[in-house]
């Protein structure tokens, strides 16, 4: 059997004495966008942080390309191809757009770096026009594009997106959604964490519902859309 890009099994994690995840199983394959929906406090961010390495799992496995990475420090996971676009974007505000992107592609040979920059500026023409501007002065939507572009600069295998639609106007949200659905490529998989199930289902083909630290439903998003529980709690009724 071919190992998936990311396989999480029986993951238990939390902060201090509080356990936020009570045994989570999840799979992300290359070239797919997988969404994880759930309420505030369901454990979505804890799951992402456990995969990125900011939270150490207490039990369970995190396999990237079949390699156990659960014990690795953050930096090693980043170098192994895990890129995070955190909630609130976290662009480096005082640095220019261009410097933010260069940091994303740090350590690459010059030729590859130029190609990655070209790719990102082609994908996000609005960033190209503002490359000398301080990242903190960009609009929310542009900062989201920059955070995604910065993650792409590293040529990642797995992109972790935490609440990208948060705080964006509906029109901008649609634009960002389109960008996300185009992220998964031949060698890249995307795990999208969203409170907004409408947005998540628009861009992902498969999804998980996380409730109080456990996966309570999973499957293709068109099936999840019909799930009574999901309809009740996460989708508007109209």
């Amino acid at each position: 059997m071919i190992e998936p890009l990311l396989r999480v099994t029986g993951l238990v994690a939390g902060y201090g004495r509080i356990e936020a995840l009570h045994g989570v199983d999840l799979v992300v394959n290359t070239s797919e966008v997988v969404c994880l929906i759930g309420r505030n406090g369901a454990g979505k961010s804890t799951l992402l942080k456990s995969i990125a390495g900011l939270v150490r799992p207490r039990r369970g496995q995190i396999l990237l390309d079949g390699r156990e990475i659960g014990g690795w420090p953050v930096q090693r996971r980043a170098r192994a191809g895990v890129a995070t676009v955190p909630e609130g974007r976290h662009v480096f505000a005082p640095l220019s757009v261009h410097d933010n992107l260069l940091l994303g592609g740090r350590g690459q040979p010059a030729g590859m770096l130029a190609a990655s920059l070209d790719d990102v500026y082609t994908r996000f023409p609005r960033l190209a026009g503002r490359r000398r501007q301080a990242a903190g002065t960009l609009s929310g939507g542009e900062q989201q594009m920059l955070a995604i572009g910065r993650a792409l600069m590293a040529g990642p295998e797995l992109i972790l997106l935490d609440e990208p639609s948060l705080g964006l106007a509906p029109r901008v949200m649609a634009e960002v959604a389109e960008i996300i659905s185009a992220l998964a490529g031949a060698e890249t998989g995307v795990l999208l964490v969203e409170q907004n199930a409408e947005v998540a289902f628009r861009v992902a083909r498969r999804g998980y519902l996380l409730e109080r630290g456990r996966i309570s439903a999973s499957g293709p998003t068109r099936v999840l859309r019909g799930n009574a529980r999901v309809r009740e709690a996460y989708l508007s009724k109209d």
Binding site: A52, L54, V74, Q75, A78, R79, A83, T84, P86, G88, R89, H90, V91, F92, A93, P94, L95, D99, N100, L102, L103, G104, R106, G107, A134, G136, T137, G140, Q143, R150, A154
Partner: protein, 299 residues
């Protein structure tokens, strides 16, 4: 007031400014290192002045023993950089979870330790060093100044430009600024805040060493000169907003000029109280520094 009297006053004022700028350039170098380390790690290093002392004494003792000036300078820079690295690896890094305020206390401890070690190794006496140039005296606006002050000013300017270039024109500098702006994000991108801190510390120590070397011929260093230098460097860095190398330099020059006027017009006894009073005033009124006109938006 007669024309002549007015002319004398102008001359006196100009000479205060000149002496102030000359002394201030030494505070500027100390402030430069403090502001650099603060930017990258959030730590105020109160041992920065002791690095200046260490660089100065090492230079003075080595040159005094007959070594070529260049060799003495290289040795002094090596020693301060090494001690800076050691302080980061052995003191700050193991305690990094303690948070910046407790790390600041650790730097005060390191300052005391460095003084003690210097006292044991070099003794309590002053170590004079020859000026870089023989019989170098300049006469400006009726004031005689040692040409060594020009070396001081040149070294300060060079150091400020070098720090700016390092931060804004190199990949390492970009990584340091990113770490300063958002540590957790920097880690998520594979940067090591610890390594960035070590680099900043070594650069700050090198700056201090440079300051100590150019200062040694002007003020023969002994193990106790570090503390006031560090405090004035801190004042300089705070005046400059703790955010840019040029701010720290401007702050250092301002401290020097204020000192010179107080010494000349009031009394040298009030010099330190007025300078530190200024520091308290700035911390109370403009914690962002005099030059911080606006805050960068954080989203």
């Amino acid at each position: 007031m007669s024309e002549r009297r007015r002319g004398e006053l102008v001359d006196a004022a100009l000479s205060y400014v000149l002496i102030g700028l000359a002394d201030g350039s030494t505070y500027a170098v100390a402030g430069l290192g403090i502001s650099l380390l603060y930017q990258v790690t959030g730590i105020i290093n109160f041992a920065q002045g002791d690095f200046v002392m260490l660089g100065g004494i090492t230079y003075a003792v080595t040159a005094g023993a007959g070594a070529p000036k260049i060799a003495a300078a290289v040795l002094a820079l090596t020693v301060t950089a090494g001690v800076g690295a050691l302080m980061h690896v052995a003191v700050l890094a193991p305690a990094r979870k303690a948070g910046p305020d407790r790390l600041i206390i650790l730097t005060i401890g390191a300052s005391l330790l460095l003084q003690g070690v210097a006292l044991m190794v070099f003794g309590a006496e002053q170590h004079p060093a020859e000026p870089f140039q023989e019989n170098g005296e300049l006469r400006l606006f009726g004031t005689f100044l040692s040409s060594q002050y020009l070396w001081c000013a040149g070294a300060t300017l060079l150091a400020a430009v070098a720090v700016w270039l390092l931060l804004h024109r190199t990949g390492w500098g970009r990584a340091m600024r990113a770490t300063a702006a958002d540590r957790e994000m920097a880690r998520l991108m594979g940067l090591s805040p610890l390594r960035m801190g070590l680099m900043a510390m070594v650069v700050a120590a090198l700056l201090a060493g440079l300051g100590g070397i150019v200062l040694a011929p002007l003020q023969p260093p002994d193990p106790t000169v570090g503390v006031p230098l560090g405090l004035k460097g801190f004042t300089a860095a705070v005046l400059g907003g703790l955010a840019s190398p040029f701010g720290a330099v401007a702050g250092g020059l301002a401290v020097g000029v204020v000192e010179a006027f107080v010494t000349g017009l009031v009394s040298s006894g009030y010099r330190d109280s007025i300078v530190y009073g200024l520091l308290v005033l700035v911390l109370l009124i403009r914690p962002g520094g005099l030059t911080a006109l606006r805050k960068t938006a954080r989203v």
